[in-house]
């Protein structure tokens, strides 16, 4: 398709969408989009997210979205983490038997020294920003998954600029990343049972995934520690989730960077063939 044909098609699509929107606006009989008031459920969430007048129904975290993700609807996030873990396990199972050959590479592997020096500086900065996003998730926009995804960009750049053999030599191997991801998920599971364990010891009633004291469960995490807003289980969830997500993405990149000859040896021949 020549270039001018594409320009004609793009311009005609823009004109068509503009006229369709005009027809919809004129003929919609007074319907106004967007609405000027919120739904009642949104008002409930906004009013109870940090309310000292109502401490038994409030989540005591100034960030409404993180409180919904980990406190009001924490069970959804637990299942989403499980789905992500299943996808990673399925990818590891598809690449079973394939491993990186042991190869010693000198300092000449990878890209030029200018790129390597700039990368060494920026990797530190990326990891610092990712830690800040993950730790402040209950006070500012951010949280566990945002920090983990930002932290996973650093091993990706290191993989491309230095080579994958250098990373393997430095200790970033597939089994170690699987161990880190399992440690993060174990932390998430333990935090979910934290208040329940404390309640069994002291004899009052409590629920799984509980954060603050509720009407029938008078035990909970502290909400203000030493004058700073602690956030209860939200802080612990954010830290463990960031660790688990960063380790999971690094594992996927390490699997994708194995050269094709190794994988073809396993699928089409050799003594470990499928």
């Amino acid at each position: 398709m020549a270039a001018w044909e594409r320009v004609v098609i793009a311009v005609s699509m823009v004109v068509f969408v503009a006229l369709l929107a005009l027809a919809f606006t004129v003929g919609a009989l007074g319907y106004r989009a967007p609405p000027p008031t919120l739904r009642d459920l949104a008002e409930v969430y906004l009013r109870t997210t940090f309310n000292s007048d109502n401490p038994l129904f409030s989540a005591m975290a100034p960030e409404a979205v993180t409180a919904i993700v980990w406190d009001y609807r924490g069970l959804d996030t637990l299942f989403e983490t499980a789905v992500f873990f299943l996808a990673i396990i399925a990818s590891v199972a598809l690449m079973r038997g394939v491993s990186l050959p042991r190869k010693e590479v000198g300092p000449a592997a990878g890209m030029s020294p200018i790129v390597k020096t700039v990368t060494k500086i920026t990797i530190g900065m990326i990891l610092a920003v990712a830690a800040s996003i993950a730790f402040h998730g209950h006070l500012t926009p951010g949280g566990g998954f945002q920090g983990g995804a930002t932290a996973a960009v650093a091993p990706l750049i290191a993989l491309v600029v230095f080579s994958v053999y250098f990373l393997e030599h430095a200790g970033v191997t597939k089994n170690r990343m699987l161990g880190l991801r399992s440690a993060g998920l174990l932390g998430v599971g333990l935090t979910a049972f934290l208040v329940l364990a404390a309640s069994i010891v002291s004899g009052v009633q409590a629920y799984v995934l509980q954060n603050q004291p509720k009407p029938t469960a008078p035990i909970g995490m502290p909400s203000i520690v030493d004058g700073a807003i602690f956030g209860g289980t939200l802080l612990l969830f954010n830290i463990f989730e960031a660790l688990a997500v960063a380790a999971g993405f690094t594992l996927v990149f390490l699997l994708l960077a194995i050269p094709e000859e190794e994988a073809l040896k396993v699928t089409t021949g050799g003594e470990h063939a499928h």
Partner: protein, 87 residues
């Protein structure tokens, strides 16, 4: 001058049109590396739209995932399989 609400809605509509053109170019392009670049342009337009719609959490998820990690994974895949779409 223009009222602020009209200005913000105008920028949102312009970003929507930009993302529509980038999607059309990404789907009808036969070189797969250029298709991934067009898809990254469309993701950047969406990230700016999320910022104007007052959703900062979603911007912080979307920018590393859709502009950084996802094109890297698809570029690894293109390097290991074919680069041009078949006839």
């Amino acid at each position: 001058m223009i009222a602020p609400q009209t200005l913000v809605f105008g920028i949102l509509a312009l970003l929507g049109l930009l993302s529509m053109i980038a999607t059309y170019l990404a789907i009808t392009e036969r070189d797969l590396v250029k298709a991934v670049v067009f898809s990254a342009i469309q993701s950047t337009a969406y990230a700016f739209m999320y910022y104007l719609l007052m959703a900062p959490d979603i911007v912080l998820v979307y920018v590393p995932v859709a502009v950084g990690l996802y094109p890297a994974v698809v570029l690894f895949l293109i390097k290991k399989t074919e680069r041009y779409e078949g006839e």
